[in-house]
Point group: C2
Chain length 356, copies 2
């Protein structure tokens, strides 16, 4: 079933108003949440709305946070999200990074006391309109086992980097530091297909094809999949994201990161506050004149896009190409939402008195 963006926006905003978000916060959060659906990351969009509401019901989301800088230097800040929706805290903190970059050349903000912030890429892209490079990292509930570990100690901890070009669309990398995202397992489950080796391990720490392996106590694997294929590198990257997001700011890290699902309780002995993010903004002209920078980015993009493809493939893609194409298409034709998600949203609307 396809729904126009506007329909989903109105519904989402009204739900957020019902849980007590101020008008402006509800609007910002709606844009961030729906950017996931527009860009094809369906697992991180409106399908999560009732998850956020359940966290609010469990008093684990503060709808009226007082988001503030608690530590700073000319090019850095630590932001306390005051338990607010990550969807609201993240754009605020990214804005602090952008403001710092205007005077210091770059701005770097680590955030504590936040929640799930939607897709990483949309926050990095906030820098583009200021002729800046944007960076966005976040830690997340532990679902990933480091190389050789039976225990889950890391989230899918994404890395997003957005780089402006001139005539070409921007370069936008937005990647989990795992081989495959959890959403891809759900697709395999629905289709009754096996997972490729290298995606997950079972509860005993053994490689498995079972797409339910994570649900049954196993774990997602770091990018690389196994030691021979470089999983220690994916683990290292996920660790960096965790440390920059939480050890820098005073949020929870590793296995202490609070779960997104409300039915699991956060650790009773936390090592910090909430979950953490990390944002960066770099003014292009802090390195070289912006027009020079952008024209070389155009050249970079064109050279890579025109590379000779391997047999059976049409072309080499630039990070951000698939999401941008999907965004154009979905703005035009609406956003496909799975029937169970529609049912869930209708029930949510009924409960909070918001018409679908």
């Amino acid at each position: 079933m396809n729904f126009p963006l506007e329909h989903l926006e109105n519904f989402t905003k009204n739900i957020l108003l019902k849980i007590g978000c101020p008008e402006n916060d509800a609007e910002v959060a709606t844009k961030v949440l729906l950017s996931a659906d527009l860009r094809g990351v369906d697992s991180h969009g409106v399908a999560r709305l009732s998850g956020y509401v359940r966290l609010w019901e469990a008093k684990r989301i503060n709808p009226t946070p007082s988001i503030r800088i608690v530590h700073e230097s000319p090019s850095t800040a630590v932001v306390d999200g005051d338990g607010g929706l990550g969807l609201v805290v993240a754009p605020h903190a990214m804005n602090v990074a952008i403001t710092k970059a205007k005077t210091a050349g770059t701005g770097w903000v680590s955030v504590k006391n936040s929640n799930h912030y939607g897709i990483a890429g949309i926050h990095a892209m906030q820098a583009l309109q200021h002729d800046m490079v944007g960076i966005s990292l976040t830690n997340a509930s532990p679902l990933v086992s480091p190389t050789f570990s039976k225990e889950r100690l890391l989230g899918t901890n994404p890395i997003a980097v957005a780089i402006p070009a001139d005539k070409e669309p921007p370069f936008v990398l937005d990647m989990a530091t795992t081989t495959a995202a959890n959403g891809k397992l759900e697709i395999l489950q629905r289709k009754g297909m096996e997972a490729p080796l290298g995606w997950i391990q079972d509860k005993d720490g053994q490689p498995t094809n079972n797409p339910y392996g994570v649900k049954e106590g196993g774990a997602l694997l770091p990018l690389g999949g196994d030691r021979e294929h470089g999983s220690h590198k994916g683990y290292g990257l996920g660790a960096i994201v965790d440390i920059f997001s939480a050890v820098f700011s005073g949020a929870n890290y590793g296995p202490w990161v609070p779960p997104f699902v409300a039915f699991l309780e956060p650790d009773p002995n936390p090592v910090g506050e909430g979950l953490g993010h990390f944002f960066g903004a770099m003014r292009m002209d802090a390195f070289r004149p912006a027009d020079e920078f952008k024209s070389h980015m155009d050249n970079w993009i064109r050279r890579f896009r025109s590379a000779q493809p391997v047999p059976g493939q049409d072309k080499v893609l630039i990070p951000g190409d698939p999401e941008r194409e999907l965004e154009s298409e979905r703005k035009l034709n609406g956003i496909p939402i799975l029937a169970p998600v529609v049912e869930d949203l209708k029930a949510l609307g009924k409960k909070l008195g918001v018409s679908w």
Copy 2:
């Protein structure tokens, strides 16, 4: 054959003096080069010395560079390496980043007109003694094909991040953005073994087990190995390293990066000057008090190190553990150098009048 560090240091320094490096530069470059041998990255150490000399003979290395800042903001700089040895340019540029961080909280330096800089990690580690987090990236000669590309467009483009702790040794990630480094292929060639699938493709862009695949016109593959296992992520990371190192600074990027080997000519139509690096330094206390930061890093490291291992493995490692253990061992027992490398170094010494 094992050689004491001091023997290799004296020889290396004397060779560098013979090609015209000033005393201090020769000392700095020797430390950087030999840190690779000490930390077990034998492919990037003294085995490369005659390669650097051949580049100098081809007039592609300037032994007396005037390294200078050509653009800056409070937290950034672009450094022109003036064609110097990367082994000398990199510590200089990292020092600029550290100096910026002292006043601005963080420092970010992109470098053009440089050469191969040894191992990435040693430059990131330069920040540790200043209670700073260090970051080091570099682009390199094109040996890697992006996902779906038959052409080689990227180098092994490493990412290194060094993070100080208190009682625990520092966290030091130093990783190529490929599944496997070129050095590992050489080991397989010597042993007559096949390469695992996911490491390389052949000259037609097809997966291959042939450990000579790259030499025969194929390419290394980005971390992930194939699209199903996330190679588009390894490609995206390698691309970021390339852009930060060269589009930021005005160095050559992608397929234009000059080859390390002197028998291959650089592109006659370069898009920039030399190859590029990128360095970052972040003061811990630009985010939170340094003692708080370091004690949480200790806690992070201890929790991960004590994770329950999968069957058949002793323990979960922290990035930097294997290299540090090797460094202690080699400082004590000397550095193993392969016979052909010893012969090569002896010949080099003879040619330049330096006794082995």
